[in-house]
Symmetry: C2
Subunit: 403 residues, 2 copies
């Protein structure tokens, strides 16, 4: 057998297995109450609409739908997205849009375009681990975006709305501050807007790209690369996302996209294009109502069941709550025990940190379980946490006695 | 405006626009007779079968078809492919298969896994330019696979059956010779089998992977990575390809795939899986009959119209004929003139060379035009070439006189 590990490229030292991936396999076990996967509720997929447009596309334009297409994506879909971005405060046209295989590919292509070995990427603590997974192959270093003193950064990666994993949203002042810093330190901002359409409460802030354009006067003068996706709003499986950015950046991303996989499925682009034409906003309202109810159930359950000393975020959109446990508890250890004893799954927080992980954290997703399941799952989880808090008090007390 | 060119990564110095991409845009002009695009005839797409299974999948398993799925691809599709690879002489199981977004992504992921800056990739002269497009981002050097003396190679990239762009197929002796050399020089072989299913004449040779396994006893001991695709046989737009390789390689490719774009469209995998279950071999027979007739028309037209001094290949499968013009003629110049004067498109040969390009070459694809269009297009092309040969004789004669 070939000693394969000796054959792999230098960059593979930076590419590691993701814990989320291993966790997703647990979802197949029917008795698990899962807060793990940050995936949309399939009950919300517009299956009938997709079925109808799919039949229509294949009947009316089957040859085109099944043929190669251009690497930048279908012009009509890019125009629709550009119009939507413009309506959201970021005036642009189709030349500012490339269609990608979900926003995950947007992150990969951006990493490929901007990162040489050793370049500094600034990210929130914690941040989306999939972004780290995309960037790692380009061998960057990471720094804390909250540390203003950290200079020399190349990319600033941020999820400003209902972040994965925290559910937090940047205030207007935080957004303006980030843009100030980016201009002062010559950072390129990667705005991951995966959850932006899922605000179910309160009023939103302009996107970083919109604020950037408001300052500079044009998307062509902006330094923000906006990554959008239909994965959270229509269907993840269709793998349709986009980047909205200045043209010189889009042109290079198109070249890279061509080398990576030529183009996104033509059929899937045509499906999305027709489904969104039939009333995307009404569909979004339905999603928001659904996640609003789930988020409320999660907040109620946490408030009711969690012992004092445990804190959590209260998101106004998206899918995630971030839980802070007392010092000394470990999310990974808790997960192992929770799966074994209580059959409750979640994601431990440590892997979401690019630097200085905090082990006493975890991410709960409320997107999938029904409200009563949320209550039961949180009840069980709280029971385990409470036992550990008592247990650790007892063992500390015991240790104190034995000394 | 940001001086973007100063911001891009070092690897972007290696990423250039592809001439094929610019050429594909010409296909939209209805009066062009095109031998340019190496794309399947859309008349051969099983539109009705795809329509039927698509409706069936969405009706019966819509939630699954539209949801995230695992990065390695659907187990049932991977089992089908493993069984087919096994029947083609390469015993393996689903653990040896990863589903990719076409074989283009297979090449990108393999480049990412194996190539560090400056590594030597050996390729045929000429070779598939899309492979160079995938590898370039990983900053390799290139060498000539036909030059046995060139040592120190990391990957040997080869299209053994009906190669793009030449239409040539490696003989059994050439295959064994390549495996001998790979073992002696410790090369990893990348076998691009994009056209392997499209043999319309003669009997085939075993794949390099099959011969490798025959020597080593098991796919786990092999050094060949086989890249397959449904793009040429079912539909390019669905973006479904695969790699068949030893498990340690597949495991790393899965990690990289996850970072790149999570997974291939679940819906599209389910469509392909059901369409191929309904009689893939009968479908392939139909394709072969079609391309056999087109290839015959191309050979007849070339024989009838081309002036002496022009030579070409005679493929037994696939989509391409490679034309060698007399010394001094230039495929790129011929294309410009041909588009302007004769409205015939093809791909000049030079871009297909990783090293030492030969300008007096061109690639003709017979996959799209009907037989009578092939005849007319070749007639026009031959007329231009003949005029240039006479012209260059005349000018040489004239030059002779003027000296």
């Amino acid at each position: 057998m070939i000693p394969w590990n000796d054959r792999f490229s230098d960059r593979m030292a930076h590419v590691r297995a993701s814990e989320i991936r291993e966790l997703l396999k647990l979802l197949d076990q029917p008795d698990i109450l899962s807060f793990a996967g940050g995936i949309p509720d399939p009950a919300l997929f517009p299956v009938e609409a997709i079925q109808a447009v799919c039949a229509e596309v294949l009947a009316g334009a089957g040859a085109q739908a099944l043929q190669y297409s251009v690497s930048e994506g279908l012009p009509s879909l890019r125009r629709w997205i550009a119009a939507r971005m413009s309506a959201d405060g970021a005036p642009c046209d189709e030349g500012n849009i490339i269609i990608t295989a979900g926003s995950q590919q947007a992150l990969d292509l951006i990493g490929k375009l901007f990162l040489s070995e050793g370049d500094l990427v600034l990210a929130m603590r914690p941040t989306y681990m999939g972004a780290l997974g995309a960037f790692n192959a380009y061998e960057p270093r990471y720094g804390d975006l909250a540390d203003d003193g950290q200079a020399g950064g190349r990319l600033a990666y941020v999820v400003p709305d209902f972040a994965n994993p925290t559910g937090r949203t940047l205030s207007r002042a935080e957004r303006e501050g980030l843009l100030d810093r980016a201009a002062a330190q010559d950072l390129v901002i990667v705005e991951d807007a995966a959850y932006r359409d899922l605000r179910f409460e309160g009023t939103g802030e302009p996107s970083l790209l919109a604020l950037d354009i408001a300052r500079t006067g044009s998307i062509e003068a902006a330094r923000t690369l906006y990554c959008g996706t239909f994965s959270k709003t229509l269907s993840p499986a269709l793998r349709i996302g986009w980047v909205c950015a200045p043209r010189p950046v889009i042109d290079k991303l198109v070249l890279l996209k061509q080398g990576c996989d030529l183009h996104v499925s033509t059929l899937n682009q045509m499906i999305v294009e027709r489904v969104i034409a039939e009333g995307f906003d009404a569909h979004l309202e339905r999603l928001r109502g659904h996640y609003r109810a789930r988020a409320a159930a999660m907040q109620a359950a946490l408030t009711q069941h969690m012992p004092p000393g445990v804190t959590w975020t209260r998101p106004q959109g998206g899918m995630f709550v971030w839980v802070q446990l007392p010092e000394g508890l470990d999310g990974a250890e808790l997960l192992a025990a929770s799966l074994a004893q209580e059959r409750v799954a979640f994601v431990p927080g440590a892997p979401f940190f690019a630097v200085e992980p905090q082990a006493n954290t975890l991410r709960l997703s409320y997107s999938l379980p029904a409200p009563e399941v949320i209550d039961e799952g949180v009840r069980r989880l709280a029971r385990m946490i409470a036992a550990r808090m008592t247990g650790s008090n007892i063992s500390r007390a015991a240790a104190g006695r034995s000394v």
